[in-house]
């Protein structure tokens, strides 16, 4: 019992923290600065708790009480770790971000924590409707965070688009859950898996259609083609720390649950692999094509996020349901998370008031004015581009290796080609930062916040994770 309790501790801490932050917000005693530290503290403690829960093997905590709803495995634990880390660094970036932008209230941090709660749940839940609830907790919190700056027209637009399409996808998810319930008599992953194992997959159209709709919802949240279109506008409209949070934490949670769902049964997985193959290829190439045409950084990063979704789909295609460890996916997620979080942490303090620096040209000559920041951004970009010795390279290496090992050579080749195509837009920023004369002095960027520190920690993480992949 205590063991189960300890395993759930991070989740409990986060939930309790979220609620208490919300309560605190009701009293006007706490400044947002303090709230940010509280939030960081909550994430930090949860992170350490999660880290200390290093028990291998699958555990189903409170099996009878929770009716097999949660399963904790190494996979979910590490995914949780990544999410908590994302939350921590988002809070850190936000702390500095709100020194220049003045629309924050204490609820902001409460909502970050709430969404982390949803994400953590998402990694662990093993039942469709719980997935739906967790998904909605996470999404609703993020919708709010996206539209937090009420005076900002683009933020309002972003939240409108996100909410509508998200709810739309949610409707598909419910329909899918209903069909699976109809087909497999249950919404538990394990029961579904068992049912599929006994009756076959394509023999049961309801299951096909249901799992299809569920996948659509996942693909939507992960921004895979053709469900990707929202992501660019939403990232663009959201504030930098939140964009980073969406790009990393949300994606981690989605892929965790995606993988958990797919590996419920091998025939379920293998039936979808052929289709995921196309999703993956199209996602990578469309992402690249969108990214190359972008002039603003956030939109470019959003598009590059689509490409990374494509890689993660490769990894998903290559996982095997028997003997699933998810290491490749997790490593890639971690590598992607540190890089992207770092990027947005840097944008949080370099963006200036109202994120006035948004295009590639606005960052011209950054290396001359803020050399360390430029170096950190370069490291993040290299990691995203998958150039050694960064984490991104190792991630890509593992993904491609697992793809080839799974016999998906064509997919691996497409992945490689897509990596080549992605060079243009990553290099473009490096070139802007380094090879052009500075036109902006970046004097208004505060450097006394925590975001720069976070940026450098993340930059170090990129290299450390890249050089010692064993630690993940």
């Amino acid at each position: 019992m205590t063991n189960d309790f300890m395993l759930l501790m991070p989740l409990i801490i986060i939930t309790a923290g979220a609620i208490s932050l919300m309560l605190v917000a009701a009293f006007e005693k706490v400044t947002i600065e303090q709230a940010s530290f509280c939030c960081m503290g909550i994430f930090g403690i949860a992170f350490l708790m999660q880290l200390s829960n290093c028990i291998t093997g699958n555990v189903t905590p409170y099996e009878t009480v929770f009716n097999n709803m949660l399963v904790i495995s190494n996979f979910t634990r590490v995914a949780g770790l990544i999410i908590l880390g994302c939350g921590f660094f988002t809070a850190m970036s936000a702390q500095t971000y709100f020194k220049q932008n003045n629309f924050c209230t204490t609820e902001f941090y409460s909502l970050i924590t709430f969404s982390a709660c949803g994400m953590l749940l998402l990694t662990m839940v093993q039942e469709l409707i719980s997935v739906f609830i967790a998904l909605e907790i996470m999404s609703l919190a993020i919708y709010i965070l996206v539209g937090y700056d009420r005076k900002n027209k683009t933020a309002a637009e972003a939240v409108m688009k996100y909410l509508m399409l998200g709810a739309f996808a949610g409707a598909f998810f419910t329909m899918g859950a209903a069909l699976i319930y109809g087909g497999a008599h249950s919404t538990q992953f394990s029961s579904i898996g068992q049912f599929v194992a006994e009756n076959g997959f394509f023999n049961n159209p309801a299951l096909v259609a249901g799992s299809f709709f569920v996948l659509v919802a996942f693909l939507f949240k992960a921004a895979a083609f053709p469900f990707h279109a929202w992501v660019i506008d939403v990232y663009d409209g959201a504030s930098a720390p939140i964009t980073g949070y969406m790009a990393t934490g949300l994606k981690t949670a989605i892929f965790a649950v995606f993988a958990n769902f797919l590996v419920a049964d091998e025939s379920l997985r293998s039936s979808w692999v052929n289709y995921l193959f196309y999703f993956s290829v199209f996602t990578m190439f469309v992402g690249n094509l969108i990214a190359i045409g972008q002039d603003t950084l956030k939109r470019m990063l959003a598009a590059s996020g689509i490409v990374h979704t494509g890689y993660l789909l490769i990894a998903l295609v290559a996982v095997s349901a028997d003997n699933f460890s998810g290491n490749v996916i997790l490593y890639y997620l971690a590598a992607y998370a540190v890089g992207t979080l770092g990027m947005f942490a840097a944008l949080s303090y370099l963006g200036g008031e109202g994120e006035k620096r948004k295009s590639f040209d606005d960052f011209k000559g950054l290396a001359q004015v803020r050399p360390y920041s430029a170096a950190a951004i370069t490291i993040f970009l290299l990691s995203m581009a998958g150039i050694p010795p960064t984490a991104g390279f190792m991630g890509k290496f593992f993904v491609i290796t697992s793809a080839i090992d799974a016999g998906q050579i064509a997919l691996a080749v497409f992945g490689i080609i897509s990596s080549i195509l992605s060079m243009w837009y990553y290099l473009r920023l490096i070139i802007s930062m380094y090879f052009h004369e500075a036109t902006d002095s970046f004097e208004d960027t505060t450097s006394n916040g925590l975001a720069p520190i976070g940026t450098f920690i993340l930059a170090a993480c990129v290299l450390i994770i890249g050089l010692y992949p064993v630690i993940i």
Partner: protein
């Protein structure tokens, strides 16, 4: 009988989809999504009847709760949007593009 109910469910679901993709009024779109959720609920309840388990009912219940939560937020967003533009046309909100 089960098939008939399911057909209704599917029909409503598809009408919901058509509503979402063909209308520009925020309210209509939003209610179309609600319609889709209702269609799913009908499917849940129908399947509950088919399988003789009440899990479907519980699921429908939860979906309703989620729909309510979503509705709350969605209406808040609608108000926010209305404050900005005074209009409820989704196409008005297209600053972010390209």
């Amino acid at each position: 009988m089960i098939q008939s109910y399911l057909t209704v469910s599917i029909l409503l679901f598809c009408i919901g989809i058509v509503g979402v993709i063909s209308r520009r009024n925020v309210f209509t779109v939003f209610m179309s999504i609600e319609l889709m959720l209702n269609a799913a609920n009908l499917a849940f309840v129908t399947f509950a009847r088919l399988h003789q388990t009440m899990d479907g009912h519980v699921l429908a219940l939860i979906v309703m709760a989620v729909a309510a939560a979503e509705a709350g937020l969605a209406l808040a967003v609608v108000i926010l949007l209305h404050k900005h533009k005074g209009q409820l046309d989704t196409n008005v909100f297209s600053l972010l593009k390209g």
